[in-house]
């Protein structure tokens, strides 16, 4: 029994340590649908609504292009309309799974669900130029 435990520990520990140390390669194009609640409007959610109007529920397709990666650091552009791309910067946490990031006016929270699938949420306070208030979650999958 003791040798079995030792074997499991010896085999398991380096694998766990390796998993924590090596950041997964996320470079590529990822896209998927996002469900959003928005007060007001912005370029991704056009309209004439203001933050004092009732919220709107919208579903839009979003693309994130992870253009570069240096260890746990990631960067690229995201868009719902290819004519209007927004830069983002993100970093993978020590757990190798959680990602936090920011773009010009909002915050990104992601979780790597599988090598080619990321659960992603986005929030945007009323402090941005559009003054819209946004919360959104979706799932993006690697396209290339």
């Amino acid at each position: 029994m003791r040798s079995a435990v030792m074997l499991v520990l010896a085999a398991g520990l380096p694998a766990g340590a390796l998993a924590q140390d090596s950041a997964p390669n996320l470079v590529g194009t990822w896209s998927g649908p996002f469900k959003t609640v928005i007060f007001g409007h912005n370029p991704h959610h056009p309209g004439s609504e203001t933050v004092s109007n009732p919220p709107r529920i919208r579903e839009i397709e979003f693309t994130m292009h992870f253009e570069g990666q240096d260890g746990n650091l990631l960067w690229g552009h995201s868009w719902s309309d290819p004519a209007r791309k927004e830069p983002f910067a993100a970093t993978i946490n020590a757990d190798g799974k959680t990602i936090v990031g920011a773009d010009t006016d909002g915050s990104l929270t992601m979780s790597i669900a599988a090598p080619d699938r990321i659960d992603i949420c986005y929030t945007h306070t009323g402090l941005g130029p559009s003054q819209s208030i946004v919360a959104s979650c979706g799932v993006i999958e690697r396209q290339d």
Binding site: T36, V37, Y122, G126, L127
Partner: protein, 145 residues
């Protein structure tokens, strides 16, 4: 062995349902948040400035979720010290079924659904807000039935 496999399948099915089912979060949630505040704002009044020392405060808040459409929901939040000042909330539930992110006019919300009627709610407010205050706070909120 057959029983064990059946049990495993049953467990997997339950887990799949748990992931797919979106909890109904509408209602009134009340709790106390412990906050560290540089400066002052409507919820943390005073004459302190962001360059002064921080204050640690405990404030009871109410969060009223008035609408929900699947994984997105919305409502208002206010300090029970002054219910006349209300913040608009936009919130979304992540795919794990328990992580909630959100935004209001000047800050970001990070919540965890601990149980059907209990949420851990954290909030951060950068100094770019009109008040210039910098705030971080966490607390547990219970749904009033």
């Amino acid at each position: 062995m057959r029983i064990a496999v059946a049990g495993l399948l049953c467990g997997l099915a339950t887990a799949a349902i748990a992931q797919d089912a979106v909890p109904d979060l509408k209602g009134t949630w009340i709790g106390t948040s412990k906050a560290v505040v540089f400066g002052n704002n409507a919820f943390h009044p005073g004459t302190d400035t962001p360059s002064g020392p921080p204050r640690v405060r405990e404030v009871e808040f109410t969060m009223e979720i008035t609408g929900q459409d699947g994984r997105v929901f919305w409502g208002q939040a206010w300090s029970n010290a002054d219910p006349s000042i209300r913040e608009t909330l936009a919130l979304a539930l992540a795919a794990d079924g328990r992580t909630i992110v959100g935004a209001d006019s000047d800050g970001a919300h990070y919540m965890t659904l601990v149980s059907p009627d209990r949420i851990e709610r954290c909030y951060a407010n950068p100094g770019t807000s009109p008040s210039g205050s910098i705030v971080a706070a966490c607390g547990f909120y219970e749904r009033m039935r």
